[in-house]
């Protein structure tokens, strides 16, 4: 930021955007990138990633991020700079959200069957990769979908999409199965919970955008990093076991895991050349 005048120019991010540095969502005031294509996170100075939108899904080339800013105002009029306009809304995903809501509203068995057909085999695959024997994986997949039925009324599509919600249910059932001590979990009703600031920067993001965005990030990981992430995630291997499995030093495994996350950020935080 060699130019002091530039550093005082602000712009407004009109929609929640993922920060590539701190992995949280921002909306509101930010600093524009010098080229005028995008904005920087106010807390980490890393680039804000646009929310998922059609061009983003087609390709992760830089053109996807070239979002024209309104002309940047001179320093001195800061705080009212360019406004990034939102792109057209993303097309609907397969409507699993609606299925869960149908279960909550009127115990819709058709909707349950649709969810079961789609998710049960995937949950089973997930559990199998974590080393669950065939019969147990099958049973836990059933339990997971039954829990979806029971808890449907708690599903909040603004907080998490269907696949994320079902993933967390399956994950929790898996941990419960493994652990006798219990599973430490955040309690959103905890009186001690510190709420986010009332408005502005850290707004909650729409689940679909987050998920579509991450899907793309996952697909772009180099194979070696994806492998480490998959082992840590699907097969529940400790970092040490991954190191043994891949015949790599522990430090390499850890750094690859770090890189796997950093890669996604890097991907979008480089200045277009």
């Amino acid at each position: 930021m060699a130019d002091p005048a530039w550093s005082r120019v602000a712009c407004t991010v009109a929609f929640p955007a993922l920060c590539s540095g701190c992995l949280s969502w921002h909306q509101g005031t930010a600093r524009p990138v010098r080229s005028g294509h995008g904005a920087l996170c106010p807390c980490s100075d890393a680039r804000l990633i646009r929310k998922a939108a059609p061009p983003f899904r087609v390709s992760l080339s830089w053109s996807a991020f070239r979002v024209p800013l309104a002309p940047v105002l001179p320093a001195g009029q800061r705080g009212v700079g360019g406004v990034m306009t939102a792109l057209p809304p993303a097309p609907a995903l397969a409507d699993h959200d609606a299925c869960i809501q149908a279960i909550a509203l009127h115990g819709d068995r058709e909707a349950f069957a649709a969810l079961f057909r789609h998710f049960a085999p995937r949950v089973k695959a997930y559990l199998r990769r974590h080393g669950a024997p065939e019969a147990q994986a099958e049973e836990l997949a059933q339990e997971t979908l039954l829990a979806v039925w029971r808890k449907a009324a708690q599903f909040d599509p603004a907080r998490a999409g269907a696949s994320t919600w079902i993933f967390t249910i399956a994950r929790n059932l898996r941990i419960d199965q493994m652990r006798k001590e219990g599973r430490p979990a955040l309690d959103p009703e905890d009186p001690l919970l510190v709420p986010p600031p009332p408005s502005g920067a850290d707004s909650t993001v729409e689940a679909h955008e987050r998920e579509e965005h991450l899907q793309k990030g996952l697909a772009t990981l180099p194979a070696e990093q994806a492998t480490v992430l998959q082992l840590a995630f699907y097969e529940d291997l400790s970092h040490t076991s991954i190191a043994e499995r891949l015949n790599l030093p522990l430090g390499t495994v850890k750094s690859r895991l770090r890189l796997a996350l950093a890669k996604m950020r890097d991907h979008v935080s480089k200045e277009p050349s």
Partner: protein, 247 residues
Amino acid sequence: MNALPSRPVAPVMTHHPDVLALTDYAFGSLRVGPSLVVASHLTFCFNCRDRVDTLEAWGGEALESLPPDPLADDALDRALARLDALPAPVAPPALPAPVASPAPPAPVASPAPRVTGEAAEYPAPVRQFLSPLASGHLPWQPLGPGIRQVVLVKPTSDGSCARLLSIRPRTAFPRHSHRGLEYAIVLAGGFDDEQGRYRLGDVAQADERVSHRPEVGDEPCVCLLATTGPLHFSSPLVRLYASLARL
């Protein structure tokens, strides 16, 4: 350099769990002790709650991208049969409304065990591990001069455990290094060490490379300490003591 208009500042943690810990937590692969530290931190830190949400969304996407592993042919039929045994997901609108008494609000599905007394000062994940232990006063055990502990997760053979530590003002925890990972979160007061100042909700992570001597300031400090390996104290005397106290 940053002359942006300032925005409202909520209590901001300066020390967060690292991204690996958050990832393992979100993916369900973090051990129980460290999970306890992370879950407690989330109570105080909305930023990390967002990060975990993001990582869980990642998990959801990964679930979608897995090749399905077909279930038995009759799996759906069995699931549907089991649904019959379950109550409807929501109470269907009471059709012939029993006109009379407005029913008292239904009790919440799983009322958390009510924790009172000292335990109520700690975040829910900690209370969850305390509740079988005590209500009222916690069963603090002396651990050394000015230091008391409550064990939350018993030490396993590999030295992995979680405990609450209460440390008197102006007391230092003896210098130590680590044989595994150490995760500590401040639940009251605070401490300083070579890495920085830690206050309510801050998480200190240390590994084999770190040797430190946390010092408590003018207020008593309570922290939750989770380790995945034994601590190694620099002083032989403390080492002997620690081996007796199984620290």
